[in-house]
Each structure stands twice: as C-alpha cells, then as structure tokens.
C-alpha cells in the first residue's frame, strides 16, 4: 500500500500554526509597527548593518528560515483545504500550486539567507 504524504503536510501545518499563534503577532508588531514607526523600538534597529548582523548570525538565520518556511507551509495547507468550501475543486493542480508555492518560498528563503553569508 502506498503511504500517504498527508501527515507530513499536516505536521508542517500544525508546526507553522502553533509557531504563528505563539509569536506571530509580536513579530508583526516588532518588524512592522514598533521598529519602522520608531515608537516602541528604535528605528535604527532596522538599519542595514543591524539587520545584516542579525541575519549573518546562525541563530538569526535559522530563526528567519524557520519562521518564513513554517508560516508558508501552514498557510498554503489551510488555503488548500478551504478551496473546496468556496466552491473551487481542490485537485492535483490546486495542490501543486499551493504546496509548490510554499516549496518555492522555502527555497527562495534558503537562497537569500545563504547569500547573506
């Protein structure tokens, strides 16, 4: 019997959902509101040298990769399973587009982070 690949996608969905539920909101607040507006955190935090130093450190690099990859896998899985509810047949094509875009995003994130050095 062919093994189902569903548990892998479900695990990625669950991990991304848990991570985004735990710290997604605070990340949006830090990188999108507090630091860019300079109200709760210094704007200087987002300077080229600071962000570069963060992304060059193995911990910062790993953190960014995990966040981007798991958030993508979480959302495409959820979108894929909601397609049926809004009247779109969720066949192989839709599956390829959904999971394919998460895979592309994951590879693009890895490429960018490796290029940063």
């Amino acid at each position: 019997m062919k093994r189902s690949n569903a548990p892998i996608f479900w695990a990625l969905f669950g991990a991304g959902g848990m991570l985004s539920a735990l710290i997604g909101a605070v990340l949006v607040f830090i990188t999108g509101i507090a630091a860019p507006s300079g109200t709760f955190l210094p704007r200087e935090m987002l300077s080229y040298s600071n962000v570069l130093a963060f992304s060059q450190h193995w911990a910062g690099k790993g953190f960014l990769f995990i966040i981007i990859a798991l958030f993508l896998w979480h959302s495409v899985h959820r979108i894929f399973h909601t397609l049926h509810d809004i009247g779109i047949h969720a066949g192989t094509g839709a599956k390829l587009i959904c999971y394919g875009s998460a895979l592309t995003g994951t590879l693009a994130a890895a490429y960018a982070l490796l290029r940063i050095g």
Binding site: G16, I33, P36, M45, A112
Partner: protein, 136 residues
Amino acid sequence: MSARGPARRPFVRSMEGWWRKNPYFIEYMVHEGTALFVAAYALILLISITCLARGEAAWNQWLAVLTNPLCIFVHVLLLVGFLYHTWTWFNIMPRTLPPIIMNGARVTAATITRTGLAAALIASLIIFIIAASLAS
C-alpha cells in the same frame, strides 16, 4: 450524459455563499482566512531577506517601504489577523488534541485554551524583550 441530456435539467441548488447563512460557518471561514495574513507576513519577510541579500541600496529602498505610514497601517491589519489566529488556534486546540489525562481526570477544554493563550503571552514577551535588548 443520456441522449435526452439537454431536455432534462434537474435543479441543482447553488452553493454560492453557503457559509454566510450561518454564524458558525462565518467564524469558520474567518479563522481559515487568517491563513492569508500569515502568508502575507511570510512574503514580507521573504522580500526583506531578499532585499538584504542584494545589498545596502536594495535594503534601504525596502526600508523606505516598511517605514511608509501606509505599510505600517497594513501591519496593523496583519496584527489584528494574527491576534485572531492566536485566539482561534487555542480555542480549537482542545478538539484537535487527543484526550489528556492528568491526576485521573481529563484536562478540560477551557484549561487547554487558557494554557495556550498564556504560553503565547509569555513567548511574545520573551521575543519582545530579546528584540528590545538587541536594539539597545
């Protein structure tokens, strides 16, 4: 398809907007919809590191977008979506977890939800403190 095909047109009830007729399903669609917010934020981060990898000029261009008031407003909307995701994620969790037995009794749904929300609050505080200490 029979030979009489076109003559026979059985009534098929439209499924268009079915979920809008029941508050339970509206909530279901809204919490599923938070996936769009999560995807949007992942894309913003992906663009960020891509610009960073391209060098200082590309980063500064992107920073100008991030500091634009309109972009900050978009992040406020994203924040609302994420907060709703946190809320529903831990509200649904009692139904997605296998039964947990502690001291001979099943852990109640309310306890699981409250523990999850507390964990999110603590994790968020830790992340914010780390961010603030990195900034200073």
